[in-house]
């Protein structure tokens, strides 16, 4: 099953490679990974999309938690969440195709963000279904280039996602 995991990490150099290295080193599947700053400048947020049976996903979450630079891990798929992805698609658009391209763009509430006499570049944001649908419709026109951000996701407010908190700070070793 697909899992979308939100990971709060220290905003330090090397953190991305620790996370990426965990996935490659343990043979975990990683479908997409997106990282960006958060409201707190010392913290970055990652959204990870992965697949695996329950045992593997449990391991992934525990292993992420074990990384010292990881502050918090939430498996969004355990609750209600919204996920979005942005795609930039450059298509061939000449003659009659130009109108068709604009029509599709309109239907999906996408935007043309660049245009030449022979091409359009379209920006679209949405969930996976929407993105797949627009790509399928634009394909007959000829897709020259396509780039996706990977999904980002956030828990819905009303129903709290199951939080896999790091072990509480109960019995910290007193340092000598």
């Amino acid at each position: 099953m697909e899992h979308i995991i939100s990971v709060m990490v220290e905003n330090k150099f090397g953190v991305l490679s620790r996370v990426a290295g965990l996935f490659s080193g343990r043979g975990f599947n990683i479908e997409s990974l997106s990282v960006g700053p958060s409201m707190d400048p010392t913290v970055s947020m990652m959204t990870l999309v992965t697949r695996g049976d329950d045992r593997i996903v449990e391991q992934i979450i525990k292993q992420l938690n074990k990384l010292i630079d990881v502050i918090k891990v939430v498996d969004l798929t355990e609750g209600a969440f919204v996920a979005r992805e942005t795609v930039l698609i450059k298509i061939n658009a000449k003659g009659e195709d130009r109108a068709e391209a604009l029509r599709i763009t309109d239907i999906f509430r996408a935007r043309v963000i660049d245009s030449t006499p022979a091409t359009y570049t379209i920006e679209v944001t949405g969930d996976t279904n929407k993105i797949d649908a627009i790509i399928n419709l634009l394909r007959p026109l000829g897709i020259k280039d396509l780039i996706r951000t990977g999904r980002i996701a956030i828990a819905r407010e009303e129903i709290k996602a199951a939080v896999q908190e790091k072990s509480p700070d109960k019995k910290r070793l007193e340092l000598k």
Binding site: G14, G21, K62, K66, K171, L175
Partner: protein, 594 residues
């Protein structure tokens, strides 16, 4: 007070109570070595290879429970530590390893002796740091020791660029550290512990399965009390040996691939496994789908990733073994009745039957070659009163040592388990001897393995480390030959060691003492002689080259399907060629002393 980075480094180590640094210098760490030149404390042990320094630090850490400290240069100095890092990471050994790095302005330029130390060590350290600013140095060292020694221990690497060791700043050593993403759990969940206590009292065929985590947690007394209270038999992993007395009546010895028949049969037929500080390694479980098919599992471990990784666990308890056992014992003290022995009698009867059916034995005929089991047994019998520390390499000799050298005390067993690193034993013995100058430290090493780090004989001499190294000289990569016997039609591809040094002369060349035994009756003589010598001693035990180590569970086999002796085709072969080919030094007569 203003200090340069090198001084801050040394003063920080003093604050951490570091007594010994194992290391080897080079260009970018010269400033640090220069400062160390003025210090007696911490003392420096110059090794002859960085891998040697790593295993010495591991031996030191395993024997003392304190972190081992290593200091090496950039580039090749660091890359030579990688095996030791991976070894320490697998076996959860607390180490803090300092590597030199080229100056910050040169990093990334392929400068002379530059390597991406942090990148290379990332997958084989618990954590690592590149210190880019001298102002961060003290804080980083504090964190490094904290991370290495708390939670599930492990190696931490700190990479120090040359300019950082030269630059000056005010020295303030932090009192405390707080790392928000790192909060190991020590106390177990109370409700889960209660559940565990109930399950333990209900079980009729229980087994305790002890792993190396029990050693790091120093849970010896707690384990002892737990076993005594509950009368449950104790199986130990290779890493756990010594954590529970091998001669205690509740001990079944080691389990797993070369574990005793009784220990493997017991866990296989158990109805409850109490796992502590163990991780269901494949050398223990064999075929996972057939591992202990009737058992419920209680799993106590400080590392949540170890739980539910391999096996379905019924009662998981994340926590430190010592803390959890303390709590568990408290429950049990009030709830166990005097009936425990009676309740478990049928189970113990069954176990007794297994023990009698296939005990760990060997036969040593007078006129035959020395059996490796015999020489290890004699070494054990002749030294046990001194409570020796025993270091091993990797191979058959390691397994025979685990089977026949009965350790009754914790932190007396230094072996490379997870990584299985040949060449570990000798330097590990030296590290332990450096920590405990007055104690008897033995190495039981393979002839193949010993040759991987024998350069440390020079370190042993320099620092007067009078270890007694028993080379189980079978002229083979014996464990490889055994697998070839069993699974590759006895085609000995690259397992015969061919030309080997004369170990007595080798010892002599370094100024150490070399002894040799070629016949069974010489075994006691050389052991006793070695114990009288206050110098490093190498003992060349020329043993039967064809001996195989049993019981053995073939990789991926189930634990109740042990091979107990050579299969018939090998037995016939043995008979055909009496006096099988012997590699290395021929049959030297008598006992030679250098």
């Amino acid at each position: 007070m203003k200090m340069n980075g090198a001084q801050i480094f040394v003063e920080s180590l003093k604050k951490e109570g570091v007594k010994v640094i194992f290391g080897l210098p080079g260009g970018v760490v010269l400033k640090i070595f220069d400062v160390l030149y003025d210090y007696k404390d911490p003392a420096l042990v110059l090794t002859r290879h960085e891998q040697g320094a790593m295993h010495m630090a591991e031996g030191y850490a395993k024997a003392t429970g304190k972190p081992g400290v290593v200091l090496v240069t950039s580039g090749p100095g660091m890359t030579n530590t990688v095996t030791g890092l991976a070894d320490a990471y697998m076996d959860s050994v607390p180490l803090v390893v300092f590597t030199g790095q080229v100056s910050t302005n040169l990093i990334g330029n392929d400068a002379f002796q530059e390597a991406d130390n942090v990148g290379i060590s990332r997958p084989c350290t618990k954590y690592n740091y590149l210190v880019k600013d001298v102002n961060d140095l003290a804080q980083t060292i504090k964190e490094a020791f904290y991370i290495a020694t708390t939670g599930r221990p492990g190696p931490v690497l700190v990479d120090i660029p040359k300019d950082v060791s030269m630059n000056q700043t005010e020295f303030n050593y932090p009192e405390k550290v707080y790392i928000r993403g790192y909060n190991p759990t020590y106390e177990g969940h109370k409700w889960q512990i209660k559940q565990a206590a109930d399950a333990i009292l209900k079980a009729r065929r229980p087994i305790i399965y002890v792993g190396g985590g029990t050693v790091f947690s120093n849970a010896f007394e707690e384990l002892r009390e737990f076993a005594d209270l509950t009368q449950i038999p104790v199986d130990m992993t290779l890493m756990a040996l010594g954590s529970f007395p091998a001669t205690h009546p509740l001990s079944l010895g080691m389990l797993g691939m070369h574990g005793s028949y009784a220990s493997n049969m017991t866990i296989h037929h158990s109805d409850l496994i109490v796992a502590m500080g163990s991780r269901f390694d494949d050398r223990v479980t064999g075929k996972v789908s057939e591992f202990a098919p009737h058992a419920k599992i209680i799993h106590i471990d400080i590392d949540p990733t170890s739980i539910q990784k391999i096996m379905d666990v019924h009662i998981p308890i994340v926590g430190d073994v010592k803390c959890v056992l303390r709590e568990l014992n408290q429950h049990l003290r009030t709830s166990v009745n005097g009936q425990r022995k009676e309740e478990l009698k049928p189970w113990w009867n069954q176990i007794g039957e297994w023990q009698r059916k296939h005990p760990l034995t060997y036969t040593q005929e007078k006129n035959q070659k020395i059996k490796p089991q015999y020489m290890i047994d004699r070494l054990y019998q002749l030294t046990k009163d001194q409570n020796p520390i025993v270091a091993t390499d990797v191979g058959q000799h390691q397994m025979w040592a685990a089977q026949h050298f009965k350790l009754d005390h914790p932190r007396t067993w230094l072996t490379s388990g997870g990584l299985g690193t040949m060449g570990f034993g000798f330097p590990a013995a030296l590290g332990a001897q450096r920590a405990f100058p007055g104690r008897l430290v033995l190495g039981i090493v393979g002839d193949g393995s010993f040759q991987m780090n024998l350069q440390e004989l020079a370190t042993a001499m320099d620092h007067h480390l009078p270890v007694k190294i028993a080379i189980v000289n079978n002229g083979y990569h014996g464990m490889v030959r055994q697998w070839q016997d069993l699974f590759y039609n006895s085609r000995y591809s690259a397992s015969c060691l061919g030309n080997c040094p004369d170990y007595v002369k080798l010892a002599d060349a370094y100024g150490a003492i070399g002894l040799r035994a070629t016949k069974p009756e010489e075994v006691d003589v050389v052991i006793k002689e070695s114990l009288k010598i206050d110098k490093p001693v190498l003992i060349d035990f020329q043993v039967d080259p064809m001996e195989n180590c049993y019981p053995m569970i073939p990789a991926g086999g189930a634990n109740n399907e042990m091979i107990l002796e050579n299969p018939p085709e090998l037995q016939n072969k043995e008979k055909e060629k009496t006096g099988a080919k012997k590699a290395g030094n021929g049959e030297k007569e008598g006992v030679l002393t250098a």
